[in-house]
């Protein structure tokens, strides 16, 4: 088994249902009729032996790392920047979003090799958003930091484009 970097397919349909709100809140009709609600986005780490990919529909503890100071479910992602959309032509454009800060797991010991982070929406029943892979790592009484790519049309963490 192996993990595969991908957009979670279920996320695409859920977007059209308005089930995810990344960044600053604007929707007032889901949790409250009077004020917008912001979704909490989280990041969980997975073992290199796990199977997390486009077919993943929600956070799962199966295959997740375990270790000192790591809490099941991972950490909360700083979600303070609203998605942006830009036209690239009269018929095409890109919508994109990147967390506004690095994702950090502080003073953890993760002895079994891991290579994947799953971004998911903990407010909306832990619905999966995207899967990101990197070289296999372990951490010993140290900090694991994931620095986000630049929030641009070509490098943002999540990009949805028409061509």
């Amino acid at each position: 088994m192996a993990n595969t970097q991908s957009m979670c397919t279920s996320f695409l349909g859920e977007l059209m249902l308005g089930q995810h709100q990344l960044g600053t809140s604007t929707i007032v009709s889901r949790g409250s009729l009077t004020s917008p609600t912001t979704d909490t986005v989280k990041a969980a780490l997975y073992l290199a032996s796990a199977t997390i990919n486009a077919a993943t529909t929600a956070y799962t503890a199966t295959g997740e790392v375990t270790g000192t100071n790591y809490t099941a479910g991972g950490v909360t992602v700083t979600n303070a920047t609203a998605p942006t959309s830009t036209n690239s032509s009269s018929t095409a454009g890109v919508g994109y979003w990147t967390p506004s800060a690095s994702i950090t797991y502080t003073t953890v010991t993760l002895s079994t090799a891991f290579d994947t982070v799953l971004i998911y929406n903990s407010t909306q029943s832990n619905k999966a958003i995207s899967v990101h892979t990197f070289g296999s790592q372990t951490v010993t009484a140290g900090t694991f930091t994931l620095t986000m790519p630049s929030n641009t049309t070509s490098t943002a963490l999540i990009r949805l484009a028409t061509t």
Binding site: Q5, S6, M7, L12, T107, T109, S130, V131, H132, T133, F134, G135, Q137, T138, V139, T140, A141, G142, T143, F144, T145, L146, T147, M148, P149, T155, A156, L157, I158, R159, L160, A161, T162, T163
Partner: protein, 63 residues
């Protein structure tokens, strides 16, 4: 400088420091290890992601 280790905080002067990096199309990663004799007592990793999943969308023609 004090370093968190599996034996608690230790002064880095007592430890051997090793560093490494990986740079490819997907990521730029650096790691720092501290060793006490032949035992790994600390390892921190910093991954900077370069690429991300990309999804293309399409509006169907009507008529």
């Amino acid at each position: 400088m004090l370093v968190s280790t599996i034996h608690g905080e230790m002064d880095d002067s007592l430890l051997e420091k090793k560093e490494g990096s990986l740079d490819n199309d997907i990521e730029f990663t650096t790691w720092t290890e501290y060793w006490l004799n032949d035992e790994l007592v600390h390892r921190s990793v910093h991954v900077t992601l370069k690429t991300s999943p990309f999804t293309a969308l399409e509006a169907a023609s009507i008529g």
